[in-house]
């Protein structure tokens, strides 16, 4: 299965539930963008670091709400590519 082909609608209740229990705003979760980042990290560097990149993106977004999410994802992708080169 292509990781980019996750059925976002089917998983939405899961996401809503977990967010509600952890006081996280579910609107911050854009599944296609997140899966794009993890695919880049898995392909460009190594699969185990894909969820770690996702974790770091979440940390960065919440730590710096004024930051640009796409730039943060870009920085993570760049770090992965460098690590995988």
């Amino acid at each position: 299965m292509d990781r980019r082909d996750v059925d976002a609608a089917a998983w939405r209740p899961w996401i809503e539930h977990v967010c509600a229990q952890t006081a996280v705003d579910p609107a911050l979760i854009d599944l296609p963008d997140l899966l794009q980042l993890t695919a880049t990290v898995a392909d460009g560097f190594t699969r185990p670091m894909a969820p770690v990149a996702a974790h770091l993106w979440g940390l960065a977004r919440a730590s710096d709400p004024q930051g640009t999410p796409s730039s943060q994802a870009q920085a993570l992708a760049a770090a992965a590519i460098r690590a995988g080169a």
Partner: protein, 285 residues
């Protein structure tokens, strides 16, 4: 540290006359297609365009110079025109650079040292010559070079770029040697045997270096990041039949910890795991 947003143009047009007219992009290097090796060097690009008549992976655009067969400068312009929302920088690569991933890393490492009035950065080959198809251009400057030049059909890339102020970059250990002949190909493959699968990238120290580099770029404290705890969490998610949500759970943990800097990570993980344990998993179809 500057965050470089860039598009990538990979020139895969033309045939290698000295390779016996095979498509250079499709040459096999230790089981990997040469074009795919070069595309690895473009990962992270906002838009990636391959110029030529080759198969490309999903998400990579294809373009062709007009008219076909009018050379790399025309190809570069066609690639530039194919990018819908141009990024600040444009990475231009030939498709016959087997060491492209390492070479491109050198370019990005040098971006911070480039003077603001530089139009781009260009790798130097072993003979000291600038390799204009192993280069990172400011997109506006690249566009301007084509505007100044006029019709690029059958002209050299070097000629079109002559008006630009480019910072030469020493490739260091990386190679910008291109593969023009079967002998060069054989020599490259012989001197670069396939690495045992992921030996390097599965190394925990390599993981840690990635986390530290990423945190540097994001202004985060790497000391507060426990990648192994994240992996334990995602393994558990996967084992519960929610594998597609593994990265999502890692992301949620990041959001939760980032917005509660004083929270105890162990407690937060326990709370998240509890939430995951009780979350509705959609039926498999």
């Amino acid at each position: 540290m500057t965050v470089v947003t860039f598009d990538a143009l990979v020139l895969a047009g033309g045939q290698g006359s000295r390779m016996g007219h095979v498509s250079k992009a499709d040459l096999d290097i230790n089981g990997e297609r040469l074009l795919d090796i070069v595309l690895r060097a473009t990962a992270g690009a906002a838009t990636t365009v391959v110029i030529g008549a080759v198969d490309v992976p999903d998400g990579v655009l294809l373009a062709r110079e007009e008219p076909a067969g009018t050379g790399p400068a025309a190809g570069l312009l066609a690639g530039l025109d194919a990018v819908e929302s141009p990024a600040a920088w444009t990475l231009a690569l030939a498709c016959d650079l087997p060491d492209a991933p390492s070479a491109v890393e050198r370019l990005f490492s040098a971006v911070d040292t480039a003077p603001t009035n530089a139009d781009g950065l260009c790798l130097r080959d072993a003979g000291g010559e600038l390799q204009h198809l192993a280069a990172l251009y400011r997109t506006a400057a690249l566009r301007r070079a084509f505007d100044v030049w006029g019709d690029p059909a059958n002209r050299s890339v070097r000629g079109v770029m002559a008006s630009l102020a480019l910072l030469p970059v020493d490739p260091g250990d990386a190679s910008v040697e291109d593969l023009d002949t079967p002998e060069q190909l054989a020599r490259w493959v012989a001197s670069h045997p396939a690495a045992p699968a992921n030996r390097k990238t599965d190394d925990k120290q390599v993981w840690r270096a990635f986390v530290e580099d990423a945190c540097d770029r994001l202004g985060l404290d790497a000391e507060r990041v426990d990648e192994h705890a994240v992996l334990r969490l995602t393994r558990r998610v996967a084992h519960q039949g929610a594998r597609p949500m593994a990265p999502v759970s890692a992301y949620i943990l990041g959001l939760a910890l980032g917005s509660n800097p004083d929270a105890d990570p162990t407690e937060m993980i326990a709370r998240l795991q509890e939430a995951i344990d009780s979350a509705p998993v959609p039926p498999e179809d």
